[in-house]
């Protein structure tokens, strides 16, 4: 009961103020429900914000496009870099696989072993570790003897100037410090090498192993490709 009059009074107050502003000289009772907003002010304010928002979206889009493009380009660069790296590595792998396989083939191993003067054994024999017993009848392998450094006699070794430059045997009056100094000196002079031959200091003594390459196959009879040396 008390709420209703309160509401009425509020409505009256609003109505009167609005009506006063918008409609001067118009009868109060006829325009009771009309309210006028001020459109001009709102329009001005919203246009500014609108432009700012638009510009913001535009610049954001621009930045986004730039970022995406850069990322994609970067990705493409990385991709192509990794691709070429992968191609390089798989190329190396293919070459090495072939080399290893060819060198490890029994035919090649046998050749290398024979070059070292080894021959196949015709009588396999075993030593039993538990009691040291020899199982089987060991027999010297048959094959032609080839000359090796181990065959050199003492006299040859002494007269061979290359072999004469051997370190002194430790004995009476052996001075380890002096021996070390001498050894170092020899090493620096490059006197230590295969059979005492003078090896040039700083020069790599590693020699490339001969590579047996499987040949390039081409089914085109006219274009039989051969391996590249």
């Amino acid at each position: 009961m008390s709420a209703a009059p309160k509401l009425d009074s509020l409505a009256d107050a609003r109505d009167s103020s609005v009506t006063e502003y918008a409609t001067k000289g118009v009868r109060k009772s006829a325009r009771a429900n009309l309210r006028l907003v001020s459109p001009m002010r709102v329009q001005k304010a919203s246009r500014g914000i609108f432009i700012v928002v638009l510009l913001g979206i535009l610049s954001l889009g621009g930045v986004a496009v730039l970022v995406i493009n850069t990322t994609l380009a970067q990705g493409a660069f990385t991709l192509s870099e990794l691709r070429s790296q992968q191609a390089e590595l798989s190329r190396a792998e293919a070459t090495l696989t072939e080399e290893v396989a060819a060198l490890a083939a029994p035919t090649s191993l046998e050749q290398q072993a024979r070059a070292l003067g080894m021959v196949p054994s015709s009588a396999p024999a075993f030593i039993r570790v538990t009691d040291g017993k020899v199982l089987g009848k060991p027999k010297a392998a048959e094959g032609a003897k080839i000359a090796t450094p181990a065959d050199a006699t003492v006299a040859e070794a002494v007269t061979d100037p290359a072999l004469a430059d051997l370190p002194e045997a430790p004995g009476v009056g052996y001075d380890p410090a002096a021996a070390d100094a001498m050894a170092n000196e020899r090493q620096q002079n490059g006197l230590v090498g295969a059979k005492g031959k003078k090896a040039k200091a700083g020069v790599d003594q590693w020699t490339e192993p001969t590579v047996i390459k499987a040949e390039v196959i081409s089914e085109d009879a006219l274009l039989d490709a051969v391996p590249v040396q």
Binding site: L72, G75, A76, A87, S90, R91, E93, A94, T95, T97, E98, A101, A102, A104, A105, P106, T107, E110, P120, S121, S122, A123, P124, A125, F126, R128, L135, G136, K137, P138, K139, A214, E215, V216, I217, S218, E219, D220, L222, L223, D224, A225, V226, P227, V228
Partner: protein, 599 residues
């Protein structure tokens, strides 16, 4: 926008209404309304056409059009599947696939073919004139060389020659060359297997190629954000064989030497582990290099140990005598009076050297490889039982190796035997076997009478690392343990003093085996020719056999007997294999079996 455009007509309307008011022309007023109406109808109709078209494009045919547009942008490329390797028992590669490049050319881009050819010739190792020829013309695509190494292509690409391109490819290589070529087979131009296990396991080795579908941009490159679908390639499996590449190598070298020195047409070596049935070496000479299959001679491309059938001859006596002992009809000591000639059916049977009546024990019959003695012993059990034993030993049956072009040999059914068939088959003629079957007979004796089906594939390794073991080989009890033991001691006398194969002796080891010198059937006349197959099949150590080795030399010119030609090869291969597999001698002493009886 529309709110701004609307006011002017209203203004104009008001003006015209004013004007009409002054000029008072009623027709104009009507026509302008009509015109507006007409305009509205026209634009509505145009809009309707647009609308209909829009609905048609978007709703009715929308998905269809979208997909066909996508089809225009989509490109599908094949992801090749890598062919699996073939490995030996230790996992060492026998056949592998490596990356390679095909060198191609666009002839229209090449202005000076001679210069380009000159630059390419030394790298490709091809003739410059031929290359220049291939570089001249209007073709947009032509192969210059196929399957060159990536290194070779690298050298070419460094030259920056115009119109020279490459294409990814792969190359099958057999790093050990001729090693086991007969078993491995070879691949053809397209990289698919055409012979041997390369052919038999083509599907598993080859794998299934995958597919990559992507949206391509104007340049042909993939659109990074576009749709893409990838079906991964299913890589080929690796096949691990039971072959030991070192034993295989020794066997191949030994048989090649023997074939050459004896002037034989070909030769074969089979090395088996009797306990597992695994074939450790399967060598034949002459052979071919699978890296260059087209350069090989056609008859050398086959795997003779499995594809060639021959009459086994005396090595077959092992089956006959084992059957006789197993049936309890005789023992190694049973005396047999052997006449010089034996008439059966309408035929006189002789021995390789003429003799009067001999007093041989059953061991003596084996040691001297006596035909008549074998016939007399076989008659103690009869043909029906003998034919049953032959079948159990695997004669005339598939070996189970599933090798392409394999023969299963031939034994006539017992019902079809003529009066001379039984004595002939008893000493190894009138039936045919392949080398693996013949060796498998001795493997059965070596494995205490239990036949284990031979095998060549030990496992199949899938790309994901999972291992598939083939089915366990079938085993058949052929003769008793005791029979096998007795036959083995008889086989030892063959290699011993007075036997036919003293050349097979390996110092320190007890070795047993049997020689064979079988006549070769003349394919034209159907009768026997002068040619023979000299063979020796043996085992070591004979008191606990770990290795069975069969050697077969076909049509030798110098020499004739298994003991002189095949036994030395057996010795070479077996002594190496014993060392390589670390099989020590048993150290036991050989028992002495009497070869003769009486005086």
């Amino acid at each position: 926008m529309s709110s701004r455009k609307l006011p002017p007509p209203r203004l104009r309307d008001s003006r015209t209404s004013h004007a009409s008011g002054f000029a008072s022309k009623p027709i104009r007023l009507g026509s302008s309304t009509k015109r507006g109406l007409a305009l509205m109808i026209a634009s509505t109709m145009v809009l309707m056409v647009f609308g209909v078209r829009l609905i048609d494009l978007q709703a009715v045919r929308g998905s269809e059009l979208a997909s066909s547009a996508l089809d225009q942008r989509l490109r599908t490329t094949e992801i090749p599947a890598q062919r699996g390797s073939i490995l030996d028992a230790s996992g060492a590669p026998l056949a592998i696939t490596v990356d390679a490049k095909n060198v191609t050319a666009d002839q229209t881009m090449i202005d000076q073919p001679a210069v380009v050819a000159e630059a390419l010739a030394p790298i490709l190792g091809a003739d410059a004139d031929i290359l220049a020829d291939r570089l001249t013309g209007e073709r947009r695509f032509i192969y210059l060389a196929k399957e060159v190494t990536p290194d070779t292509w690298e050298q070419i690409s460094e030259l920056r020659l115009p119109g020279i391109f490459s294409e990814n490819s792969s190359r099958r290589i057999y790093p050990s060359g001729e090693l086991a070529a007969n078993v491995l087979g070879f691949v053809g131009e397209e990289g698919s297997g055409l012979g041997g296990y390369e052919y038999a396991y083509e599907e598993q080795l080859g794998g299934t190629p995958g597919e990559l579908t992507f949206e391509k941009g104007p340049g042909g490159r993939a659109i990074p954000t576009g749709a893409s679908m990838r079906v991964n390639a299913e890589q080929g499996v690796d096949i691990q064989l039971t072959l030991d590449r070192d034993i295989q190598h020794v066997a191949q070298v030994a048989i090649a030497e023997a074939v050459q020195s004896s002037g034989a047409s070909d030769g074969t070596v089979v090395v088996m582990d009797p306990q597992s049935g695994r074939i450790l070496a399967l060598a034949t000479a002459p052979t071919f290099d699978p890296n260059f299959p087209t350069q090989g001679v056609q008859r050398n491309l086959s795997n003779r140990p499995l594809t060639d059938a021959f009459e086994p001859g005396s090595t077959s006596k092992v089956m006959t005598l084992a059957a006789v002992i197993n049936e309890g009809a005789a023992t190694p000591y049973t005396p047999i009076k052997v006449p010089g000639v034996l008439r059966r059916g309408d035929k006189d049977f002789h021995d390789s050297s003429a003799h009067g009546t001999l007093n041989l024990t059953l061991s003596g019959v084996m040691a001297k490889s006596n035909n008549i003695g074998t016939i007399l012993a076989a008659e103690r059990i009869g043909g029906k039982k003998l034919s049953k034993y032959l079948k159990k030993f695997g004669i005339g049956q598939e070996t189970g190796l599933n090798f392409p072009g394999e023969t299963k040999g031939f034994v006539p059914a017992h019902e079809d035997w003529s009066p001379t068939s039984f004595p002939t088959i008893a000493f190894g003629q009138g039936l045919s076997v392949n080398a693996v079957q013949a060796t498998s007979v001795f493997s059965t004796i070596a494995n205490d009478g239990l036949r284990v089906e031979p095998s060549l594939v030990s496992k199949i390794i899938h790309a994901d690392g999972s291992v598939e073991e083939p089915e366990a080989p079938q085993t058949t009890r052929v003769v008793t343990r005791e029979t096998a033991k007795q036959v083995r001691s008889m086989l030892e006398t063959v290699v011993g003093e007075g036997g036919t194969a003293t050349n097979a002796k390996i110092p320190g080891y007890r070795v047993g085996g049997k020689t064979g010198t079988a006549q070769v059937v003349n394919s034209v006349t159907g009768g026997y020719s002068k040619d023979v197959i000299a063979s020796f099949i043996g085992m070591a150590p004979v008191d606990n056999p770990r290795l069975v080795v069969g050697v077969f030399i076909s049509k030798p010119k110098a020499g004739r007997y298994g003991g002189e030609l095949a036994a030395p090869v057996f010795k070479k291969v077996t002594s190496y294999a014993l060392g390589a597999l670390e099989i020590p001698p048993t150290g036991a002493k050989a028992p002495k079996l009497a070869l003769t009886f009486g005086g």
